[in-house]
Symmetry: C2
Subunit: 564 residues, 2 copies
């Protein structure tokens, strides 16, 4: 490809309304152009990248045995009423009336359509298992579309749906898809994690998210150095603590006149923060509860809320705290409450000896506190804290924290949709069975933005090679003045092409400064400069996108470097 | 590909609601499944064919220098208001309101969006010419969607839009696109014609339609055996007639008591129908007009309507005829009218001598009539008739008639959209110039149906090889009983694969009858049968889809036959 015959339109200025770096760089490189809120045109440059992602996804889905179909974007209301989602899906569903006033929506997802397809196509267990996928345009009417294609309204998605006679077979295909996803994100050259996820509103039995790691990611993730364990910070678990040491101190009341936080108390007493205990007072339908975590930890609301009796808990008011503990916040503790209370101790707290808690008396804490001696053993011991960086993981590794951008999701849906829509097959005994379903999504257009969030510097995008619009840019210095420069570049390009390396020839006749700036901005992994001076010396200037400096290479060395 | 791992779902019955053969066969083969009126899911089999078409279109568009982009399907109302089409486009425009009550439509075409893209992207004549294309889903809310994907509401289209500084450059690119279209339809293996077309409502200066020939086609076409001339029957022209012979008969009144048609008069008089003249009485704003065509011809309403003063003409009433000619229909003629009338003679009528017309008197015609002697030379001589099969074409060839399905269209739009939307560039003198535009469409999904209309028999589809889901089907007889059969088939498939021939292995274990019926129904061009008996004899059974019988070939001959 010659850049003079391509349409490249870059800008130096960072657009004022683009908040995140991928959005800024996609606009500056001209990869996308906004048509309306959350609706973008993909320019020739942007589409080249999008198609690379699409092709890798398609190849790996095919290799994993999934079969490609193409479902419509416009879906009839009646189908969505069969599953109850016409009413339940919410404002993201773009509802449409056609000229005959029939109700439709622009598909934000295709569970209803594929289940309808399956109930007509699949009659016998002999046709199972089967996994249908498509790469197709979806629309979600986001209330606040932003960040360019990261959270667009119209977007490109790969969605797959598998059908099974048994849940065991679904679980097998689920693992097959997980493995395919790992191959896809590995091939794309992205740093990513497969993360345990709550299945949330979509329902089903098991699910996992795939996140591209990037500082700007919306989701907090925890992963272990000891295995591929990764989880959303909201659900991540550290290793259980070791056994509780024996008590070695007597309980004593200590003066903490203004020290209301664990940090301040630990500092005053000259002890480790890990030996203090934070008491969090909450109310539930069953009454007052004191949740205890170590001073260096924080209560994880999702974990706490999942314990029996803790659904819909709320913070206790000062009056409720006074009534149950007889003290004001800042000095609370589980020892000797005014009224009987339920105590829930985090596993780490239950494993402490000689610890420090509030004395339920303004200006005082209790030190050297021990379970079973100074207060009863806790009624409930559970993991109710959020993990922190440096925690030991269950696999023996260390917990690290990162931020991620969700680009994929695998679900075991089970029979939710098949049941609602009557998607059955006959089993070996000729008995009608509702099929079990899995669904597997990848945000194809979102991956492009996520890759930029992970791979950029102050000069622009640094594409992972498999996603780059071209692997190599061959820059011509003064092509109009010297036919030898064009000839040498074309010969180089021909050899690279033969070796399967995709090149672009920058023959636009720009001066080196603006030309190099463009090539760096659009993130081409390898840059080769062909100049009269270099040819005279028998060399080409080569520079990798992320390298600090260029090097002079002869033709053979250059080809070797570029894998040709 | 093994058919046992694919999803093939064929039906023997012809669906009752499918009127045309392509719709019937696409349903029977399971290529498509209806989701709603005019909205279809493409099954794995259907999508394989659709993708083949798409890929050939993409390759040739790229080779022609067009650059691929991807525009959104959802388009804002404001853009359509800039060109006035929001109000004018009519009911086919699917209008949508989003959650914020902003107006959008599902794009039925993309002139507005690409012109908006261009006015932001293109600033200088140096960026021209450029031709942007996309292969993308469109929606037209047809009032009566029918014939499956032939006239669907949601469909896949390739649309291209070129931008130019001058009309001359537009004309050059228009020819470039026509040549690309010819390559595309030739590569697809379809019999087609490039047809001169009225640009109709879309506007612009020149346009041509591409039609796949098929008996079931909606459009009547005329083409010449002498060149690539082809035109819609409505606008096709034959060669001009030779000079008028000298008069040799005297005019005489002949008795035609019940003969009101030219056919009956010619029969009665024992003369050729070509020597009779049909008089068609019409009214215009300027008064009464008698249009004359030969008895073997018919008036072409479009040609007649384009003559000066003939826009909005209508048939004359009996009262109007009586007032002007003093006779009733069936005996009308241009000789001696009651009042002065305008006579428009078809070129062929003006070239007649000694012809027959009505006498403007019930029960009589005039024979031996001659221009300039018996009546004045006609006021207007023009081509106002429809061509008929066998006419001589201007290129010396013979006119033939056919029916066609429109699958492509190229337009020189000119400045209509660029003017309305202010899409300008600076020219060499730094002066702002409105760009000239071309647009070029191909109905990708429609091609699939059109190809079937052209290529089928009583057993099913007969795909042109480039569009076939697979080129070769290798059918296994009793694969479970004989491992040698599978082994031989796999080895054959490996050799064909190496030669770039795409095969499918029918390892479903069906009996030969149903298996062969499926393979024929889905139209695979080449069928190879691998059986125990054949292997013992050292042969494979081969049959081309359109062949009358199978032949026994040894391995080398088979591979040679299949181009491997």
């Amino acid at each position: 490809m010659r850049l003079s015959r391509f349409h490249l339109s870059t800008a130096r200025e960072t657009p004022a309304d683009a908040e995140i770096v991928s959005h800024q760089l996609m606009l500056r490189t001209g990869m996308i152009r906004k048509l309306a809120a959350g609706i973008y045109t993909w320019s020739p440059l942007g589409l080249r990248v999008l198609r690379r992602v699409e092709n890798i996804v398609r190849e790996e889905m095919n290799a994993a045995g999934a079969i490609e179909v193409l479902m419509p974007s416009i879906q009839p209301q009646e189908l969505w009423e069969e599953t109850g989602r016409w009413a339940k899906f919410g404002g993201q569903l773009l509802k449409i009336r056609d000229r005959k006033e029939a109700g439709y929506c622009y598909g934000p997802t295709h569970e209803e359509v594929i289940t309808d397809f399956a109930r007509h196509e699949l009659k016998s267990y002999k046709q199972l298992p089967v996994n249908f996928y498509q790469i197709q345009t979806k629309f979600r009417d986001e209330i606040r579309p932003r960040f360019g294609v990261m959270r667009a309204r119209e977007f490109l998605m790969k969605d797959a749906y598998s059908f099974h006679l048994t849940d065991e077979d679904l679980a097998r295909e689920y693992e097959n898809m997980k493995a395919a996803y790992i191959r896809i994100f590995t091939r794309l050259g992205l740093e990513f994690r497969a993360v345990q996820a709550d299945s949330g509103a979509i329902g089903g039995d098991a699910s996992q998210e795939f996140h591209v790691l990037a500082e700007s990611g919306e989701d907090g993730l925890a992963f272990s150095t000891g295995s591929d364990y990764a989880a959303n910070v909201e659900t991540a678990q550290a290793a259980a603590p070791g056994p509780r040491p024996a008590a070695s101190e007597a309980m004593r009341k200590v003066d903490t006149p203004t020290q209301k936080t664990c940090e301040d108390v630990a500092k005053l007493l000259g002890i480790a923060l890990e030996r203090t205990v934070k008491s969090v007072a909450v109310m539930t339908d069953g009454g007052f509860v004191l949740a205890l975590v170590r001073g260096d930890h924080s209560v994880n609301e999702i974990k706490l809320g999942k314990l029996p009796g803790m659904a819909d808990y709320r913070a206790a008011s000062e009056a409720e705290i006074q009534a149950h503990l007889g003290s004001e916040p800042g000095f609370l503790g589980p020892v000797g409450p005014k009224q009987a209370i339920r105590v829930i101790a985090d596993r780490e707290v239950a494993a402490l000896a000689d610890f420090v808690v509030g004395a339920n008396e303004r200006g005082f804490h209790l030190a050297g506190v021990n379970w079973g001696r100074d207060l009863p053993e806790p009624e409930t011991v559970a993991d109710i804290r959020s993990v922190v960086a440096g925690d030991r993981a269950a696999d023996g590794g260390e917990i690290r924290l990162a931020r991620g951008i969700e680009v994929g999701h695998v679900f075991q849906l089970g029979r939710k949709y098949a049941e609602a829509m009557g998607a059955t097959v006959l089993d070996e005994q000729g008995k009608s069975q509702v099929m079990s379903m899995g669904c597997y999504g990848i945000g194809v257009s979102r991956i492009v933005a996520a890759a930029i969030e992970q791979n950029h510097d102050e000069r622009g995008i640094c594409w992972p090679e498999p996603m780059a619009p071209w692997q190599v840019a061959i820059c011509l210095i003064n092509p109009k003045n010297d036919a030898g420069v064009i000839e040498a570049a074309e010969s180089l390009m021909a050899d690279l092409h033969k070796a399967g390396v995709d090149c672009v020839l920058d023959d636009r006749g720009l001066r080196p400064g603006p030309m190099f700036a463009d090539i760096e901005l659009i993130g081409i992994p390898h840059r080769v400069v062909v100049s009269e001076r270099g040819l005279a010396a028998g060399t080409f200037e080569y520079r990798a996108r992320r390298a600090d400096a260029a090097e002079q290479l002869d033709r053979a060395a250059l080809l070797a470097k570029l894998g040709a």
